[in-house]
Amino acid sequence: MKRRRNSFDLSQLLPVVVATSFAAVLTLLLTLGIQRAAQLQAASSALQLASELRSLPQYFGTELTLAQRGLEARTFVGEPLADIATAREGFDKALVRIDADLEAAGLGESADIQRVRGALDAAWQRFVPLLGALGRHKGSPYADTLAGSRLNATGRALKADVDEALTAQAAANRDVGGALKDLAAGLQDTVGDRGRSLRTFLVIGAAVAALLLALMLYFSLRSRRASADARRAERQVADILGTVREGLFLLDRNLSLGGVHSASLTRILHADIVHGSSFEDLLRPLVPAKTLATAMKFVNLLWKEKVHEDLIDTVNPLSQIEARFTRAGGGVETRHLSFAFRRVKSAAGQGEHLLGIVTDVTDRVQISHELEQAKAENQAQLDLVLQLLRVPAAQLQSFVRDSDMALRKSNAVLKQPGREEGELRAKLNGVFREVHTVKGEAAALALTSIAARVHQLEESLVALRERASIDGNDFIPVVVKLDELMSYLGGIGQFADRLSEVQPKGDTLKSVIPPLLADQVMGAADHSLEQLLAQVVQETAAAHSKRVALACRGLEAIPASYRKAAKDVLIHMARNAVVHGIETPDRRLAASKPETAAVRISFEAVGNEGFVLTVEDDGQGLPFEKILDTALRKGLVTPADAARLERPAVYGLIFRAGFSTATEVTEHAGRGVGLDAVSQTVRGLGGAIGIATADGKFTRFRMKLPTPAGERAATHAA
């Protein structure tokens, strides 16, 4: 990543680096050019001075000659002498200026020039004292007498000096002139040289500037092309993001959403995507809290370099989630979403982003559900037929009739008016009771396929019961399932009717059905209740890995009008005893009880008062604390009530609708509706239930039933 980023930056930086170095070169060239130009100017000035000085020795000669002639003619010589002095000073000054110019022209160190300059100096120094001597003579050079003017002492001395200077003048003229000529020639060369180099610098500078211009032009074109490419690429990316059906998004290390995402994301998640907002917040409304926590852990795993992303696909908790969205027109829509995460890798390795991909897989899930359902239905049909064949047709017909009645009752409950929350809940409980009875009967006949179907309806009722608030809309699934169940039972009814036509009476499919049931069909009707209960107890015990022996007494004496009710009640109670009352064999052994538990069911007359139906088990007794806890948790009693309740009142709670102590709901018991239904049935007959129990020893339910009206009349008549 690092390396890549650097190379990327370098390519961006290149124009700047090139431009800067070109500018530096250009600046250097111009600086040198300016220097050369200054040197050239200085050299030219020196050359001019040198050229001007070349005429001076000649001038000295002329002036000296004038002075000599003047002295000889005894004329005034002050003028030539003053001119000489001025010119001498001028020469000295000019020399100083030449030196300065030479220095400025960079020739201070030049050996050739300095040699010539030294020669000039030497020649001049030889000559200049002679000129200087001319100035020493003060006063008039003449002594004016009557005989005319003649040279006085000063004049003679002056004359001598002038003569001497004039004599030296030729040599000086030669030497100084020659030196100046050499100097001028040297400077001429220098000027030419500096001029050429100045031209060279300017030419190079112009070339560099032109090159720079060309380069800048190239870079600007290239960058324009690059930004055009970038814009095109950007547009293409936008096109892709706008078109893909998957929701694509980026997450950074804080699991915040990136600024870019596909258009579908908003549609799939039914949410606005805000750059920088947290992924967790986005996910929160879609999944339960526990899944959310696991999901965040999972996504964080992807930052761990050690974890191979292909090897953790299977643990992705978001690989398929069920999300509920509120529909625009009301109602709730369930969609199946699938999230996948990939590390965004660059050429050099680990990236700084995760790519999230979310797909709406509802159609796929539904198709696979339907396939599974079809498969399961086929299997279920086969199972069902086998189960149905084991039950005698008459019994099956009676089961279908009873069940149909129960379902009609459920429907009647739904049909009742009542829209208030409380009324709806009462309806829920009413439907529950009826449906649970159907399930119980189906289970008793070992019609597990049917029981499972009914269980599904129960599940939807339970789901509703656990909702914080319910309205009529929520009952739609219930009524649809009820409809399905009625169709289903209708089909079974038809099957039973056909079966009854082909099954010879008495002699059933003895070879395929258990002897117990065969016996039941052939034996007396009351005898069959005992057998039925035995079967219920054995099947329930087997399902819970328990060992139970059932003993029944007096069941054949149950009056005809109580038989249906007694059957319903006893099936519930017997199953409850096995599931809740009886301990597992090892716990029984640990408590020094026989491994095989006993369940006793009896029916007896109590004088003329009526009857008592007793169901007793030697199990663990009713768990007082647990019942109270459960009742509190379910809101059946308030904490204040709980403190006041006596034991019998607490035991009575188990008959309340919605009570169940079993933590796991099974088809056999644990809905808490069984005892509720029992209580309803017994009270419906005008009876009452009493409970006796001892911890670790037994539980006994005594149901007192009045003598039925018809029966009483018959007794009186007799």
Partner: protein, 149 residues
């Protein structure tokens, strides 16, 4: 889509109609099955026929009084038979519209038709179990009946 989802669509269509057109919400009662006898039909009934993946009828049936008050709330003063028919037809229209939107190509939804009189036994045969969804509005009572197989 499941039958459950389809019923959901119809129910939300009706509720939405009350919310938006009438501007006063209706309440859904507990749905039930019409067993043994045809479900109650009121004075005016707007109906759509469904064919394709499922076949049958869906209708909204309401008493005259209810429809009249609905019209009043919609600032309508003419309570003629034609207007009441129009209104119930409008409700059926939203049923058809929502169904077309939600159900996709597996369904063919007819244009709505209106039936008057309470003696009709629309789309009922003894071996169907129409699902009746009671719709309560103010003191009135109407039914949404879904009869699909």
């Amino acid at each position: 889509m499941s039958l459950q989802g389809e019923i959901g669509t119809f129910v939300s269509a009706v509720l939405q109609y009350f919310d938006t057109a009438v501007q006063q919400a209706a309440v859904v009662g507990t749905p039930y099955l019409a067993l043994g006898k045809p479900p109650e039909v009121f004075d005016y009934t707007g109906m759509i026929r469904v064919s394709g993946k499922r076949k049958g009828v869906v209708y909204f049936t309401a008493p005259k009084g209810m429809l009249s008050v609905m019209l009043m709330r919609m600032q309508e003063t003419d309570m003629s038979d034609a207007n009441l028919r129009d209104l119930v037809g409008e409700v059926a229209n939203t049923l058809s519209g929502n169904a077309r939107k939600d159900f996709g190509r597996n369904f063919i939804i007819s244009t709505p038709s209106v039936v008057t009189g309470s003696s009709s036994t629309i789309g009922y045969s003894p071996d169907t179990r129409p699902i009746v969804v009671p719709i309560d509005w103010r003191t009135y009572h109407a039914n949404l009946v879904v009869c699909l197989n």
